[in-house]
Symmetry: C2
Subunit: 342 residues, 2 copies
């Protein structure tokens, strides 16, 4: 197997703001694994708050001796070797894992979801995220999204969360999922806010409080009338057992956990614990989003809109129809590459 | 898809005794799922202590409307439908799950282990079980096994467990795994016995105490110098989280959990909890044993010897070499059927 990779800058359609962070582009690294003339595509997306950079990803990928492997289907062994090179580096590992899944799917002539026994008709609805913005821009974004999506996601954790919800409610009656990104510090105020949000048609709340406050979260989870999803509190499958009773569900992202294989393990673990599953993403191309979408028939809800936020997506893959993810029948992760990137 | 099934009696080479049970044959039901002229094989094995019978299995299988499914690869949906027909009936469900995995592997032209990204060179050692017997018969069995296996399994829970170990130790110095089948009732005596067993070269202890004594088991698990595996205490993935701290590992069996798909979920769940994994079986043909063996590269140790205990195995599949499971490159679960059974 041959591994190739190259940094690639993802430019955003709109300035993107979450609690404590605002940006107009995101660094990425695109990967390719080639075997017997077949090429699998992968991607690492590195939002700055997760600590990986184009430099750290290319450094990590440089350490992978892909040439030693003659059978890409030995994924457990190959990905175990990659995991063992160094701890962390989850986005870098995900870029390799995705390319390997795409490659093996293409070699088998099957979509990844089919190899996993999943039906493309069982995909969930996906939320579309509306970043914090001026009232005018919020209205524009909501209108843009309202025709295509059945549920919108709103980033809270600002000085005036109620104002944001009210501004959005001027333009749409769609169900809302909110993502607080650890923005609330007081559990009693958080609970009051959740009850208020429920009255406003909010259906789920993501990471309401800081990840270092599991006791407050458990208190909140016991009382919340809405399901609470962990995001910053969960990275890999080993993190999930401690979250039972602390959150009602987990947001699983390839760039956090290291790829599709670990994401599947996380889904199985969460289900065994009776927890809900959301499949999320970073700001990324249709490559990584389509990879995550392969697993989406196992999720309750998706938040796989990262590719819709960027301009000049080099890939075409999973689509949205009626607010649901639409998988195609192409082998592997189901993407076509339009722009020569490597 | 077309489903066919037929009861089939498995005759044992030797009378088989465990704590509270002795028998010379085991009822089984063999299944076939056919699609596009390709046939997948499955099997339900029903040791009497688990409550299923040839009648209950054929009754359950009669309720499956397989004709409604035109794509065998939609395994999550199909097996979800089967699970929803009635609770329990895990051996019946396993017989369908195994046949479906064999069928899809054959349709894809790939062994199941390969579709799961597993390498056939990473299979574990398998134990070979020695039933309680006269001293003379024990010696005979141990000699028969000693040349082919690297670790033997001994059933304890009798009135004279030390006598059994001493009798076996006359004939072999191989490492021993013991299976107590809930046979010990006092935790202090159990702990003393485990320390004694460790001195005799025993390397693991399965289900030492009754499944309704988790507190005693946790006490024992904390103090045991040997890893303790749950068997009767665990059936499906949802049972595993409560076993952390109670056992060090779980014995996963297709006939207990309902098939290969649930077994994979159990392995992922156990690993997320930091627990060991044993893949076990009932007395069954090379069909169900080879199905379990497809997952074995993910296990620490296998106890997949059920096919070796029966006379007239209608299937040929996984082999043993140097004490390790040897997977082949045949598609699906990797079996050839020698005897017309359905």
């Amino acid at each position: 197997m041959k591994l190739r990779f190259k940094p690639y800058e993802l430019h955003l359609k709109h300035r993107f703001s979450v609690s404590g962070c605002s940006r107009t582009f995101t660094p990425a690294v695109l990967t390719e694994i080639e075997h017997d003339g077949v090429v699998g595509y992968g991607e690492a997306s590195m939002p700055p708050y997760l600590g990986e950079t184009a430099g750290s990803v290319t450094d990590f990928l440089s350490k992978i001796d892909a040439g030693q492997f003659r059978d890409p289907f030995l994924m457990e062994d190959i990905l175990g070797y990659v995991e063992g090179i160094a701890p962390g580096n989850k986005a870098a590992k995900a870029s390799f894992d995705i390319a390997l899944h795409d490659l093996t799917g293409k070699l088998a002539g099957m979509p990844c979801h089919r190899m996993l026994g999943l039906g493309k008709d069982k995909t969930p609805y996906t939320t579309y995220t509306i970043g914090m913005d001026s009232d005018e821009m919020l209205g524009l974004k909501v209108k843009e999204a309202g025709d295509r999506f059945s549920i919108l996601k709103v980033k809270l954790g600002s000085a005036d969360d109620k104002g944001i919800i009210r501004a959005i409610r001027k333009h749409t009656g769609l169900p809302l999922a909110v993502d607080v990104n650890q923005g609330w510090k007081c559990r009693e105020e958080a609970l009051d806010m959740i009850f208020w949000l429920k009255e406003q048609g909010v259906v789920s709340v993501e990471q309401p409080m800081p990840k270092d406050c599991p006791d407050d979260m458990a208190w909140l989870n016991e009382r919340s009338p809405l399901p609470l999803y962990a995001d910053e509190s969960v990275q890999t499958a080993q993190d999930i057992p401690a979250l039972r009773g602390v959150f009602g569900g987990v947001n699983i992202k390839l760039m956090k956990c290291g790829g599709m294989r670990e994401a599947l393990k996380m889904i199985h673990t969460a289900r065994a614990l009776g927890m809900r599953v959301m499949l999320g993403c970073m700001t990324e191309t249709s490559c990584a989003v389509s990879a995550a979408a392969q697993l989406s028939p196992l999720a309750d809800i998706a938040d796989l809109d990262g590719n819709l936020l960027i301009a000049g997506d080099p890939f075409e893959g999973v689509k949205i129809s009626g607010g649901r993810l639409m998988l195609n029948d192409m082998p592997g992760i189901g993407v076509v590459k339009y722009i020569e990137t490597i």
